[in-house]
């Protein structure tokens, strides 16, 4: 593969053979290439987990931070320099569990960033405990009587939060997945792509075959701007709908709302401090 986002030495990728992450990586790299982005103007941000290792394996700038904490730095990076393209990656545990509060509030800010959640319905890096999206009744070494918590519905949650672009894909379908990834990155505002992904090591129930059998694509005439219908789709299970489920182009982004960008779109990091303004501010105290 000749892709400028490919890393020079990709023999030592820490994912299990057959992991859905390999597919997602390939898909995202071809989307980035297709969008004609440069590695220099791209920042991949992530927390911790198997999915959150993605930035390590893509040739670009990256900020691989703390577990659950991908969205706050991603928001700040975009705000400090809106000329950057900022993509956040994480798993279902990282983004829906540990980082849940940031997801809620990032949706309120609506920064122009894209969040990809590798949703394999299990904890991979910590070896097989339940995640917020693990199916009811699923037995693990910790949830040994079966999961009795209700699984989180990220799509319904995202629509309720008015996240301005909400999509679900299955990584086993590269063509459709790439198309939606592209739309998500091009969307102005906060976009969430929940990626169904098999975990070959710890999830023997939600397998590649299971996802194939239990998903379907939304029809072309489906209108993602209808929020009520989107909610209905969000609650459909077995089969789960795939595609852009909800979209709202009418909201201003975080950056657009920031006072400093109202009249001047020069990124904050390219501005210099004005000493006479500082003197004025100090002299107000006389």
């Amino acid at each position: 593969m000749n892709n400028k986002f490919d890393i020079k030495n990709n023999s030592d990728i820490a994912w299990c053979p057959g992991c859905g992450n390999f597919l997602i990586r390939k898909e995202i790299m071809s989307v980035l290439e297709e969008l004609k982005l440069s590695p220099q103007e791209l920042v991949l941000v992530s927390g911790i987990g198997q999915a959150a290792k993605m930035p390590q394996y893509v040739n670009s700038n990256f900020f691989n931070g703390l577990h659950g904490r991908g969205l706050p730095p991603a928001t700040a990076i975009k705000a400090a320099n809106p000329q950057l393209t900022v993509l956040a990656f994480g798993g279902d545990g990282d983004m829906y569990g540990e980082g849940g509060n940031h997801l809620l509030h990032t949706s309120r800010r609506n920064p122009d960033i894209t969040l990809f959640v590798h949703d394999n319905m299990i904890y991979g890096l910590t070896k097989g405990q339940a995640s917020p999206t693990t199916n009811f009744g699923f037995e693990t070494p910790v949830q040994n009587f079966g999961v009795f918590e209700r699984p989180l519905n990220p799509i319904a949650l995202a629509i309720s939060l008015e996240i301005t672009f909400v999509a679900r894909v299955f990584c086993g379908h590269p063509e459709q997945t790439q198309e939606i990834m592209k739309k998500a990155i091009n969307h102005k505002g906060f976009a969430l792509v929940d990626i169904f992904q098999p975990c070959v090591s710890f999830n023997k129930i939600n397998t590649h075959k299971w996802f194939e059998e239990n998903t379907y694509y939304l029809k072309e005439d489906y209108d993602p701007t209808d929020r009520d219908k989107a909610f209905k789709k969000a609650y459909e299970t077995m089969p789960f709908p795939l595609g852009v489920i909800y979209k709202n182009d009418g909201r201003k982004t975080f950056e657009e709302n920031l006072h400093i960008y109202q009249k001047n779109d020069t990124p904050l990091v390219k501005r210099s401090t004005n000493l006479s303004n500082i003197k004025n501010e100090i002299n107000k105290k006389i």
């Binding site: 820490a14 590695p39 220099q40 103007e41 920042v43 941000v45 911790i48 290792k53 930035p55 390590q56 040739n59 670009s60 700038n61 990256f62 900020f63 691989n64 931070g65 703390l66 904490r69 706050p72 730095p73 991603a74 928001t75 700040a76 990076i77 705000a79 400090a80 320099n81 000329q83 950057l84 509060n101 940031h102 809620l104 509030h105 920031l258 006072h259 400093i260 904050l268 990091v269 501005r271 210099s272 401090t273 004005n274 000493l275 303004n277 500082i278 003197k279 004025n280 501010e281 100090i282 002299n283 105290k285 006389i286």
Partner: protein
């Protein structure tokens, strides 16, 4: 009987939260400073929005004395519980002035602020009447008062401005005509040009001058005023200010901002800072700059939310898992707060490590006049390089600092990782690289040494007793020692806490007796000094009831310790 106050008068306003003590103080502070008086004020509050009793001490003096006094010369109670709340600070000389039902004390003078206000048209003007009264007592020129009120209420309707002018004039006349009180305090033209600042404002203006352009925080007393100040500066300056969902978000956002090339600061108190611990550790791992203001209040847990303490030094010293360097500063004066906050940004950018500015409620809420700042001979140093295609964020270099690049500034890529990483920023489990990276981070503390501000010695070099303090206790302790007039005692104040200055041991070892003064219960600075230098300080004067030390109690406690030695 005539009450005379010469060179120094302590006026205390007390009343319920929401009654307007702060607005009286707001009027008085600028007005008195602009008329040439040395001004100091500090406030104590209950943790409630309405009711209770809060008080603000206002000190007007011929000399610049900015210590907290326990003594009250004149008390102006706005509520009937005020006298009782402050009874331990009232003396036979204290005058209580105000409305009849609120001034039940042996020496009192009735001034019906509310009735006068009602005559003007509304009880709401009583605060302005009271401010006018104090101005009258202090002989502030009436025209200055009127002009100031017009400016202060400029955003209000003309009717409101006019009535406030009447209110200040009526109050002024009563104060001026009062024959029972004679106050003689020197004024100076020089003071008119001074700045009048709170500790929070000094920290905030310092940050602004240091090039801070990104501020995030979660509101928490007593650190919120810095957030509000920065928000107010953002109207005319390029600053992004964001209130974040929680302190974990705050620290991670701050680090993201620095990564992209901003100069970011967060402000919090102990409880909020505790939530940031993991992020502090991330800061160390990705060698990010970070400036953090922590205004301490008494803990543990929610503690006394609106009170003061120096109890979080250990928290700040040890916060974050793993071994890594940091810088801790604790200003004792407004000047130190300004210059330290300003310099913190260059220093943090240069050494790529967190710089903590440790204040407390007493410090951030105290206000006094100081000379204007010197803004010459200072430049904002970004310490950012344009990257080459082969750029490595964590490159091993001769001087031990890896040049810091930011995304899309040059041809290189900027990769940072919370895992241990190689020079390029990618995950590694190579044991040799691990050791080299730990050593590289650790070595930065050595580089900092040449920048450490030495502790400040007040008094003679050949002291017998050395009194040691840090942070906010400086002004009060300095005044207490000046009043003791004992040439054998000197004061050593640390505004740079960690790493400790190399001369610390010599300063301590020279003394026959060492006494440390700390606003906490365990002598955290004494512990730090002992663990770093091996020197055990002889005596501790500790206070942890939630209030700052007063000049009077420090004089008493130091005298007791000196006398104990003599016996």
């Amino acid at each position: 009987m005539l009450s005379k106050f010469e060179n120094d008068v302590v006026i205390v306003l007390a009343g319920e939260a929401g009654q307007g003590i702060q607005s009286i103080e707001g009027i008085l502070s600028l007005l008195l400073k602009r008329s040439g008086y040395n001004y100091f004020s500090t406030s104590e509050f209950m943790s409630r929005v309405r009711g209770g009793v809060n008080s603000t001490e206002i000190r007007i003096s011929s000399q610049e004395v900015n210590g907290f006094r326990n003594r009250i010369d004149i008390l102006i109670p706005l509520s009937d519980k005020s006298v009782d709340h402050l009874k331990s600070r009232l003396t036979d000389q204290t005058l209580v002035i105000g409305e009849k039902d609120k001034t039940t004390y042996k020496k009192s003078i009735e001034v019906p602020f509310s009735d006068i206000a009602k005559e003007i048209g509304n009880k709401i003007f009583s605060n302005t009447v009271a401010a006018g009264f104090i101005c009258g007592l202090l002989n502030v020129e009436l025209q200055l008062c009127k002009d100031f009120i017009a400016e202060y209420f400029a955003s209000k309707k003309q009717d409101i401005i006019d009535k406030n002018i009447i209110a200040i004039s009526k109050g002024h006349k009563i104060g001026k005509d009062l024959e029972q009180i004679k106050i003689t305090i020197d004024k100076s033209k020089k003071i008119q040009k001074h700045l009048l600042l709170t500790g929070a404002e000094a920290v905030s203006l310092g940050a602004l001058a240091g090039g801070c352009n990104f501020v995030c925080a979660y509101p928490m007393s007593p650190a919120t005023s810095v957030l509000e100040n920065m928000a107010s500066y953002s109207k005319d300056n390029d600053i992004i200010v964001e209130q974040v969902e929680d302190e974990i978000g705050v620290i991670n956002m701050t680090l993201g901002a620095w990564y992209a090339g901003a100069r970011a600061m967060a402000t919090t108190s102990g409880g909020g800072f505790a939530l940031m611990s993991e992020g502090i550790s991330l800061c160390a791992m990705i060698e990010s700059p970070l400036v953090m203001h922590i205004a301490q209040r008494p803990g543990p847990a929610t503690g006394l939310p609106t009170r003061t303490e120096q109890g979080d030094l250990n928290l700040v010293l040890y916060a974050g898992h793993g071994d890594f360097p940091r810088i801790i500063l604790a200003p004792g004066t407004l000047e130190e707060a300004f210059y330290q906050s300003r310099n913190a940004f260059n220093m943090s950018a240069k050494y790529q490590m967190p710089v903590f500015i440790l204040t407390d409620q007493f410090f951030v809420d105290s206000k006094y006049n100081i000379e204007n700042f010197d803004l010459d001979n200072f430049e904002i140093e970004e310490s950012i390089v344009k990257t080459n295609p082969d750029y490595q964020r964590f490159a091993f270099t001769k001087d031990g600092l890896s040049p810091r690049g930011i995304p899309n500034h040059g041809k290189g890529l900027v990769c940072v990782d919370s895992d241990e990483h190689d020079e390029s920023g990618h995950i590694t489990e190579d044991f040799d690289i691990r050791v080299k990276m730990v050593d590289k981070r650790k070595h930065k503390l050595k580089l900092v040494e040449k920048d450490i501000t030495p502790p400040k010695l007040i008094g003679k070099e050949n002291y017998k007793t050395l009194v040691i303090c840090w942070g906010s206790t400086f002004n009060t302790l300095k005044e207490a020692l000046e009043e003791l007039e004992n040439e054998d005692i000197s004061l050593l104040h640390f505004s740079w806490i960690y790493p400790l200055h190399k001369d610390t041991f010599d300063y301590l070892n020279k003394a026959d007796k060492t006494i440390i003064v700390e606003n906490n219960s365990s002598g955290q600075m004494a512990q730090l000094i002992r663990s770093t230098t091996g020197f055990a300080i002889d005596e501790e004067i500790l206070k942890y009831n939630g209030l700052p030390f007063s000049v009077e109690e420090l004089k008493q406690k130091i005298t007791n310790l000196i006398n104990k030695e003599k016996k």
